[in-house]
Amino acid sequence: MLSSELAVCLWVPLFPLRCEERRRPELVRKPTALLSPTDTRRLWQVSPTARRMGVRVGMTVSQSIGLCPSLTLCEPDPVYYDEQFARLLLALGDVSPVIEPAELGRVFVGADGLEGLYGGPGKVLRVIGRVIGERGTGNGERATLAHRPNKGKREEGRGKGAASTNRAKQRSRRTLPTSRFPLPGGGVGWAEVMRLGWGRGKFISWVAATRAKPGDAVIVSNGERRTFLASQPVAVLPVSSDTHRRMWQLGIKTLADVARLPETALVSQFGSEGGRAWQLAAGNADDPVTGQERPEPIVAAIDFPAPVADRIMLAHTLDKLIERALKHPRRIGWRVHVVRVRATLEHGASWMAGATLRDPSAHRDHIAAPLKVRLDQAPPSGAVEHLAVEFTAFARGTDELQLFARDASAAARAGRRRALHTAAHEIQTRLRRPMLSHIIEVQPWSRIPERRYALIDFEP
């Protein structure tokens, strides 16, 4: 498992709503809301324009239309949002091998060693911005590196009063122990809406990202992390809403207030959550980014000849698809840990349910049970045209299966080695020279670092 102390947090607030806006650009200027995937009578996400008109998350459709008659309601398409997020993760994989997704629209990128490849933090963030702008875009479009026309128009429209406000903002920015700058953006890419934060550990990078404006980045240097954290509100702490409320009642409003208190006092008042909050507020928490090797998912899918809305029929199909996926040769010797079911609905929307099994299993009924509960509690909002089951994470088999597990592991290693050799041969044949290298020891004992190791062509 790879980990990295230096972290970059990439955050796209309201990610599902942004996905809809990217798919239907006419929504950008309209008050828009997304319906909840689990209860389509209530709102899940609300655009800033709709929010200004009083529409709030959790309201019923009738309440929101009453407040804002021009509100555009969108049916949720979780499969599409998941695909878009996976595309972002794939693009980030080109920059760093350590990627830790936190939730839809928020991901941590390990930055240890990236400075050696790209330059300082600013350069690394610009590379991430460019990669996301170019490769993280869906629908095959590419973001251009043109300036932002909307922003330009806003600047033109400002008067003298705005200029003095700007000067005040610049003054206040100079006092911040951080550096911020715009990312390379494009009119259609994520770069317009994403925020990047750089810092040591996930918490600092996350707080930095929340301080960045859309399309901007904030860097918190290691030496200034405590000064930066001190001025932040307690709302940034990952604690329960009850703890937040009690902190406010006790007059603890900023992280400086938290750090000023003895750690033991917070532990006695809030338990382990208080101890964690103190460590984070004092800048002492060591929360590295942890990347995991993601196995290729095992997928079993079916296209229905006619759309199916009957839940019993869907549950039966689910059983059959799980059985089919369990028979996949790559699954042998491994138990299923994470399972997901995706459905494409008749009118273009989608439905998705996932489960992480507390006890990984290779039995159909154990795997199907949590998915069937979701199917009963929050069924698809329309008839299903396409249904797919995916096993996305695995655990080693039980004791009697360990023999197979070891075989599977050895076979996987041998397979990787074979694939590496084949790829190296192919590159050499195509380009007439090997483009792969490996590191060899030259004078590993030398006191002069550049004499210790060298690169040499990899010839399998």
Binding site: P121, N222, G223, H438, R447
Partner: protein, 94 residues
């Protein structure tokens, strides 16, 4: 590191790793690096971890280097050294 393939080594195909790059360094009153500029903007030194000196190969072209291992603003962990003969600073990975 990849397993050695047993193919014969050819010295002419070796490419040096971790080659030092020249860098502009600002020193403080004690002569320790205070800020560095590699052409992409100035970055201050957050912390000095260790400093040492090497005197080597005095029998041919002497190598005299004053090394400083530092953490730069933003968390970069690098080694800086001054080639005492040439009075030039370089940056290198630790």
């Amino acid at each position: 590191m990849v397993t050695h393939t047993r193919a014969p080594l050819r010295a002419d195909r070796l490419r040096a790793l971790n080659v030092p790059r020249p860098i502009a360094v600002e020193l403080d009153a004690q002569g320790f690096p205070f800020a560095v500029d590699d052409g992409d903007g100035k970055r201050t030194v957050d912390e000095i971890i260790e400093a040492w000196r090497i005197d080597d190969e005095w029998w041919r072209e002497p190598i005299i280097r004053q090394y400083v291992e530092v953490i730069l603003e933003g968390g970069g962990h690098v080694v800086l050294f001054e080639d005492v003969n040439a009075k030039q600073w370089y940056i290198q990975r630790p």
